[in-house]
Symmetry: C2
């Protein structure tokens, strides 16, 4: 059995989720025709939608659009504000963070190529966006502010209440990608005054390639980017046909939100202990501040240990960690965690993450720790050898 320490990237589908999907997995369900089977499916489908609403404490009058990914949700918002606001001259800019993810960066680049101003807000040493600079740029000409609630690499949590109140004051719509927050910290649409929010099923032990885009009340000017038959929720996207997947997504959000009450604290304890041990390794650094992050992630840098080498060595022993270096090398410009922490620039290639989930055990972490230590020693020995030979 593999030891999976990449729960922010992808998780296995839980037994309970698969069980909920199973009765519908091989079925041909046309919700437009009322058979016994389609009624059963429709009931389960509606319950799932309800669970998705409840997972973020959305109101019935709010809209939730089912999408194939948070990438799709992000793209729909960026293209919508471009077509409805930028192109018409009603607004002239958007705001993203210097830690924006690849979907935001690519969507923003497209908008920029079409004449939209894109402001990239820097983050401070603790990884949160610089509120003072943010305040300078946001105004009524801002078509969209896009900020992830939780950093996908470091797990740092943004001060979303403060950001939201600034946006509200400036009359600028705020989009929050909450993918890496779901099931890690509470999300509450009655507390957080965001205009749009997305989350997905990929990293919460649900089926892959299904996500949700929350739209506060029905008045927002969002347009479909996937045209087709309406769903019951909204005429903002062609309705999905994979009913089993919607049901699985509903089950997954229900379970992960329930686990927030106690399981997450167990994960935090495991993570803290694990990180303390990692920090005992010579020349190791934690790249996220202690207080401001989700309980599931530990993001580290080991001096002289290239993350891709370490990832490969761990993978050979069936231990899966994550690194964003592959994305970074493909024109993915965002400020690195090493820069933010003002550490030596050589550590940039040494950044590796470990993210835990409900299925992570103490035994797995002990085993992982052992292999990590061995691998780091091996890599450092080889590189010392190489230096000597030179």
């Amino acid at each position: 059995m593999a030891i999976l320490l990449n729960s922010n990237i992808v998780t296995p589908t839980s037994k309970n989720v698969l069980e909920a999907m199973e009765p519908f997995l091989d079925k041909a369900i046309d919700l437009n025709v009322t058979t016994k089977e389609s009624q059963k499916a429709l009931k389960a489908y509606k319950e799932a939608i309800d669970k998705i609403y409840r997972s973020i404490n959305a109101k019935d009058e709010d809209t939730i659009v089912l999408t194939s990914s948070t990438n799709e949700a992000t793209s729909q918002l960026f293209l919508s504000v471009y077509l409805k606001y930028i192109l018409t001259g009603r607004k002239n800019s958007i705001i993203i963070s210097q830690r924006a993810s690849i979907d935001e960066i690519r969507a923003a680049r497209f908008l920029e190529s079409q004449g939209c101003r894109v402001h990239r807000i820097p983050v401070t040493v603790d990884g949160t966006i610089d509120i003072e600079i943010f305040r300078e740029y946001v105004n009524s000409k801002t078509a969209l502010v896009s900020i992830a609630l939780v950093d996908d690499e470091s797990g740092v949590i943004q001060p979303i209440e403060e950001i939201a109140s600034i946006c509200k004051f400036a009359d600028a719509p705020l989009y929050v990608n909450a993918k890496d927050a779901m099931g890690r910290i509470p999300i509450d649409m009655q507390r957080d005054e965001v205009s749009y929010l997305s989350f997905c099923s990929d990293n919460i032990e649900g089926p892959k390639d299904i996500a949700a885009l929350y739209i506060r009340d029905k008045s927002q000017e969002i347009m479909p980017i996937i045209f087709g038959q309406d769903s019951e929720q909204a005429s903002l996207r062609a309705m999905p046909k994979d009913i089993a997947k919607v049901i699985g997504f509903g089950k997954a959000v229900e379970e992960i939100v329930d686990s927030l009450d106690f399981e997450v604290e167990d994960i935090r304890e495991l993570r803290d202990e694990f990180e303390q041990e990692l920090l005992k390794i010579d020349n190791s650094y934690s790249l996220a501040p202690w207080a401001l992050r989700v309980p599931t992630i530990s993001i580290m840098a080991f001096e002289g240990v290239h993350s891709s080498m370490l990832i490969d060595k761990l993978a050979q022993k069936d231990i899966v960690a994550y690194s964003f270096s592959k994305f970074n090398t493909r024109n993915f410009e965002r400020v690195s965690l090493v820069e933010i922490a003002a550490l030596n620039n050589s550590l940039k290639h040494c950044t590796i993450g470990f993210s835990l989930a409900s299925y992570t055990t103490k035994e797995q972490l002990d085993e992982a720790l052992k292999v990590i230590k061995e691998s780091i020693s091996e890599i450092r020995e080889i590189s010392a050898c190489n230096k000597e030979q030179k």
Copy 2:
């Protein structure tokens, strides 16, 4: 067991497809990290991509983008040509058919609202587009011609070779939605000179909500509408994470294309026999010409029998037929099959379809026929009673 006569809308997932997906269904697979499991998944994934290419005889240098539906493929093309051609003034119009489907109609309406001219080509009495009128409208200012290879309701096959050669001559890119052609008639990208083609997994006994967009060579000016991490095939869409689904799609296209060699002829025989029996019912009409359609579909109208009533009655006995009346009533303007066939307009609400697949048996059709006859009699009796009472 339900009798499914709606294979053009949705099919169950076949046992072989589910078996191919099964090893990956609950797995957390990150193709960026090389474990034993991810290597196994990557191998199966690449084989699946290969099967998808082979299913339409695409060349390696052509691009196939995996999308969540043909709706998405259609939307991506319409939005791309809008942003790249219409908005820049390089081209000024698009062409769709009067039998365009809901995704095309909604996407075209959006383009029209932005100042793009939309030409709707009528169809002749045999259900194919009027080539002479088409020829008048297509020219080098045409940003896109969008024609379904097979009509989703009637199964009528368009003369795609002729359409393609006209488009080529006029230097207008041709997009063909081949969703209802896949596995019903051969599709060959070396024979058919189309620029873009889409098909999906929903109606070929594959998993739901996965589809493919074929793009001839790499030079076409299509842009992503879902931004994110590139897949190996193309930087035109965020890569899907549901590896199992891609593998299932590959298996499904392989099996359905193989079945073209002989099974499809068995289905044609069953369909023809079934339709002959349906035509023996008093005041019944076949709405598609005999020669020009796929072997799986029978589209009928029974005078005085509202399709939604018949659909419901059949559904009560677990027999699933299809009707487009639900779509039609929601501002879905397209010329009806009844108009095309120049039949009495009252038949418009009486159009009902039956579509067969590899899993359809003679016994099922005999049973369906019995229930259809009974239901039609009952409905006609009730309506006769109602008339008497009045």
